[in-house]
C-alpha cells in the first residue's frame, strides 16, 4: 500500500492561551493544505468587535500563500492562521 502523503504542518500554538493574555472572547483557527488551487479570488475579513473599552489582539500568519490568490493559481504546502481576541479593559485582572 502506498504511503500516505505527509500532512501540512500547521502553525504551533493555536488554541493555547496564557493567563496574562487571556481574552474574554477569542476565535483561533488554523488550516493548511498540501495543495491549493484557486478558481476565483477569495475575499475575507475578520475583526474584533467592541468600543474603546475593549482591548484587542490579532494574529495573522501565512505560509507559501501569495498576498492575493489569482484565479487558476496553485500553491503548495500552504498554511494560514488567524486569531482574533478581545478583552474588556476595565476587568481589574
Amino acid at each position: 500500500m502506498a504511503a500516505r502523503p505527509a500532512r501540512p504542518q500547521l502553525f504551533a500554538g493555536a488554541g493555547t492561551t496564557t493567563g496574562a493574555s487571556r481574552a474574554d472572547v477569542e476565535i483561533d483557527a488554523r488550516a493548511g493544505a498540501r495543495e491549493l488551487r484557486a478558481r476565483s479570488r477569495p475575499r475575507s475579513r475578520s475583526a474584533p468587535i467592541g468600543g474603546p473599552s475593549v482591548l484587542t489582539d490579532q494574529v495573522s500568519q501565512r505560509r507559501n500563500l501569495p498576498k492575493r490568490l489569482e484565479p487558476g493559481g496553485v500553491a503548495r504546502d500552504v498554511a494560514v492562521r488567524r486569531r482574533v481576541a478581545a478583552r474588556l479593559r476595565a476587568a481589574g485582572r
Binding site: P8, G19, D28, G32, A33, S44, G92
Partner: protein, 214 residues
Amino acid sequence: MAAERRDEQGRDGGSPDVVLDVSRVAVEEVVMQVDTLHARIALDARLADLVHLHVGADAEVTDVSLELKGVDAEAHLRAHLDNVVTIFDRALRTVDEHPDVLVELAHTVAETTEAVAGNLTALGAGGNGAGGEGAEAPVRALTGGGAEAAEAGGGDEGGEGTAGDGGGEGGADEGGGEPRAAQRGGARSRGDGGGARSRGNGGGARARGRGGGR
C-alpha cells in the same frame, strides 16, 4: 460573589465558560464553493443605561472557490464570562449602596428622550410627504417605552443574534429579561456568544477521500 460561586462549583478560575473546539480535521480533498460565510461570536450585556458591555469577534469570507488537497484544520472558540460578572457585580453593588444613582440616571434618560422626541416631532412636522411620516416611527419608538424602546436602544446587534443565548442568558433571568427591565433598573444580559453563528449562501463544500476526521 462570582469568585465564591466558582469555588463552590469547584471550577478552575481559568476555564472558559463557553468552548467550541474542533481539535483537528483532516480531509484528503475538498472542493469548496462559498458565496458568503459569516461567523460571529459576541457578548452583549447591559445593565439599565449604566453599563453596556459589547465584546466579540467577527469573520466573513466571500466568493471562495478553492480546490484543496491534503487538508488539515483546527478551530477554537472560547469565551470567559468572569469579567462580565465582576463588572456587573461592581455596578450592582454601587447601585445597592447608592440607589440615588438610578434616580439621577432616570432623570437624565427622561430628559434626553424628551429632547430627542421633541426634535424628531419637529422634523416630522416640518417635513413634507413621506419624510414627515417617516419621522413618526422613531418618535413612537422613543416615547412608547416597552419593547419598541428597548429594541431601539439595543442597536444593530439586537436584530441578530439568537445564537448565543448560552453566553449571557443568566443575566437575563436574574434581571427579568423583559424589555422594560432596563427602565426598572433590572439587569439584562444577552450574548451572541456560545455560538459562532455562521451563514452560508449557496455553494457549499464537497469533501472526499481517505482523510476523514480524526
